[in-house]
């Protein structure tokens, strides 16, 4: 059976160049970068080289890049670390209703410890209004955390504007950029963000590595304390395989971004257009223009997305619904709910996220099986009349 992977917002395959780059670290390059001797020095150089490559991808100084284990760690570090580092200033956070659970549930966790959180709403496109962020600011607001792009709809948020609002009010600004880093150009200096969180496996590095941009001068305490690694902001012996990998992946992303975005954007548009043209009662969720070029979230009315996901899987096509619990059961999407979508639409919403490795044949294969699967499920629906 042909296998097609359209779930790159969940994770991506490891780039072959990344794979070759980490191979020596499965063998002779085994040292601890903190060691003084030859084994340590050798690998320390690779850590710093990787840091430079990452910094170059986001136009930061290498000293402002901290390696983490994943996006969730980065989000936790940003939120908890900034609050702990600024307890004298206040205990209030501003964020949005559509953040990834790594931000959303961290905020909920902090509410149990007497921190206060304001959740800014979204409109029916799933977009936030920077003015709502401004209005949510209080005297004791310490942190604003707004995602760069939404994982479910692909919506791109006005980060530069919100960053400026934070600056005017002398508030630390964090953005969860997990869905963006490696996909579109990012310049942290131009954006003016204080903290930016990224995850390696979303851009062709392996799982278990991420990075955090922390602008010089931001008051923050470590989430993991212990040794002196990573400027004493993240203790723990360095994950050499991961660090080398994310460095390599950053370099590839930077070099190939233009060409890749054009190619993947073309495939996404072809898929989207094909679906809208051949399958009736389909709607795109999210903002029509301000969204990532690789993502499309489509509602197939009169069906349960779960059934379509299963049937696509049986045909070798991997897509996803909004959220899944740890057992893998699909849950109603809180992002689509926050957009006040008609339940007929939110129940039948599927996310296709394209990426490196996808081809025109993948898209055409998907378009060749999808209409009949949708029709088959709709035939069983009591609400559907052709």
């Amino acid at each position: 059976m042909k296998k097609v992977y359209f779930d790159h917002n969940a994770t991506t395959p490891i780039h072959p160049k990344v794979r070759s780059a980490i191979e020596p670290f499965l063998g002779e390059k085994f040292g601890n970068p903190s060691s003084i001797h030859w084994a340590g020095r050798e690998v320390r150089a690779y850590v710093e080289e990787a840091r430079e490559k990452v910094a170059s991808l986001i136009n930061s100084d290498p000293s402002e890049v901290i390696f983490t284990s994943c996006g969730s760690e980065g989000d936790n570090m940003a939120i908890k670390g900034v609050l702990m580092g600024n307890l004298k200033k206040g205990r209030h956070i501003v964020t949005t209703v559509v953040e990834h659970p790594a931000v959303f549930r961290t905020c909920k966790f902090l509410e149990d410890f007497d921190f206060e959180v304001t959740y800014v709403p979204v409109d029916s496109y799933g977009m936030i209004d920077p003015d709502d962020v401004r209005k949510a600011i209080r005297k004791d607001t310490v942190l604003i955390s707004v995602m760069f792009a939404n994982n479910e709809t692909g919506n791109l948020f006005p980060i530069k504007e919100i960053s400026a609002i934070a600056k005017e009010n002398d508030i630390v600004f964090h953005t969860d950029a997990v869905q963006v880093v490696g996909k579109i150009p990012i310049d942290v200096k131009e954006l003016g963000v204080d903290l930016l969180t990224a995850s390696g496996h979303k851009f062709n590095a392996p799982k278990g590595i991420g990075f955090q941009y922390i602008r010089k001068g931001v008051k923050i305490l470590p989430l993991i304390s212990g040794g002196h690694q990573e400027r004493e902001l993240r203790a723990g012996t360095e994950n050499m395989l991961g660090i080398v990998a994310i460095g390599e992946a950053s370099q590839i992303a930077k070099e190939e971004m233009n060409e890749k975005s054009r190619h993947i954007g073309y495939l996404r548009d072809r898929l989207e257009k094909g679906i809208l043209e051949t399958i009736p009662y389909t709607v795109i969720n999210g903002h029509p223009e301000k969204r990532l070029y690789n993502t499309t979230n489509i509602s197939f009315k009169f069906i349960e997305a779960e059934a379509l996901l299963v049937m696509l899987d049986m045909n070798g096509i991997a897509v996803s619904t909004g959220s899944a619990c740890s057992s893998g059961a699909t849950e109603p999407s809180y992002v689509l709910q926050a957009m006040s979508l008609d339940p007929l639409c939110s129940r039948g919403a599927l996310r296709f996220s394209l990426g490196y490795g996808n081809t025109e044949e993948d898209v055409d294969y998907c378009l060749s099986v999808l209409p009949s699967l949708v029709e088959k499920i709709r035939k069983m629906s009591p609400f559907y009349k052709k």
Binding site: D313, S327, A329, E331, K376, M380
Partner: protein, 338 residues
């Protein structure tokens, strides 16, 4: 696939027989105590690992809403009515052999198979439900109300096996669930159903305990904490053992007395499902609870209901449980005890 040995072996046997198989785990409820955030997480992982071993697709379907409507709400309601519910039968009827079956058919399946110990036999173009050949494990009691037409889409591959044989098959196939313990009877009850009712906000109201002649002999803590046939828990000392004989929810009364009053010869069942015609002259075997061995009885039709007249009195006939009628190993039909 529940993550237990029975459904694992069912999937294995079907795969061996050449069927094109995929597995489904039903996510039915969120258990806060045992595993945070997700029901039976370790069970769904066991099921997934068996499916991966068998190289079959596997999906977790979210049926929480449906489970609440058809099983949990019913369960609570029945206790409120002073009855003793049987949630497994409702789950089989609505969740497994209605909603899940419909989903399976939508997904292009020809059959839905489960690991129940029962047989589904085709006689003259009609499907009949029979006891599983393992007399001790037979689960046909829990399946009595599947409509006959739906049986044609259902497979029970384990009905022809004994439990010990199933374990041996599972072990030989190296299924990781081969030695897994039997699951508890009601999956959403952790310890005592009374704790469950309390956590659902159902609080007992004190009331009178009367003896069989209507004499007040004590107080009860709320009628739905009691089950017919139950001994003890009443904290009443009469000088002889007393048992719960009856529950009258409208008056908030529990009737308790000597064990002899628990024995009755007749009962009525309603909401009937029949696979075969009833012969009023004939003696059938009727089971009034899962662990009841079944006793000889005659059946009388009274409108939409059936009256069951046992040859000898039966202990603790409990409203809310099912009365299931057998002719030898064949399930003739059944209904809910009034």
């Amino acid at each position: 696939m529940s993550g237990g040995v029975d459904s694992s072996t069912t999937a294995f046997l079907l795969k061996e027989a050449g069927y094109d198989v995929f597995g489904v785990f039903m996510k039915l409820w969120d258990s806060e105590k045992s595993e945070r955030g997700c029901c039976g997480l370790s069970d769904s992982i066991d099921a997934l690992r068996v499916a991966e071993q068998l190289k079959i697709p596997f999906y977790v379907l979210n049926l929480k809403e449906e489970f609440k409507t058809y099983v949990i709400d019913y369960f609570i309601d029945e206790y409120k009515k002073g009855r003793t519910p049987n949630p497994c039968i409702k789950c089989n009827l609505f969740l497994k052999f209605k909603i899940l079956l419909d989903k399976a058919l939508t997904l292009g399946s020809d059959y839905l198979a489960t690991g129940h110990y029962a047989r589904n036999v085709l006689v003259n173009d009609k499907n009949f439900l029979y006891k599983g050949i393992d007399g001790n494990k037979d689960q046909s009691y829990f399946l009595f109300n599947i409509p006959q037409a739906r049986l044609g889409k259902i497979l029970f591959p384990l009905g022809d096996f004994k439990k010990e044989e199933v374990r041996i098959i599972a072990e030989k196939a190296n299924l990781r669930t081969a030695k897994k313990k039997e699951s508890q009877e009601v999956c959403f009850i952790e310890n005592d159903y009374r704790d469950f009712l309390m956590s659902a906000g159902i609080k007992g109201k004190e009331g009178d305990v009367l003896d069989i002649n209507g004499k007040r002999i004590g107080k009860h803590k709320g009628y739905f904490y009691y089950t017919i046939g139950q001994r003890g828990g009443l904290n009443i000392s009469m000088g002889y053992p007393i048992y719960v004989i009856d529950i009258v929810p409208q008056k908030n009364i529990v009737v308790a007395d000597r064990e002899e009053y628990l024995f009755k010869k007749e009962l009525t069942i309603s909401d009937i499902n029949l696979f075969d015609d009833i012969d009023e002259e004939k003696f059938y075997t009727v089971k009034i609870r899962y662990r009841h061995k079944g006793e000889r009885a005659k059946i009388k039709k009274i409108g939409e209901k059936l009256k069951i007249i046992f040859e000898s009195p039966q202990r603790a006939i409990t409203p809310g449980q099912a009365g299931v009628i057998y002719d030898e190993d064949k399930v003739v039909g059944g209904g809910w005890i009034e």
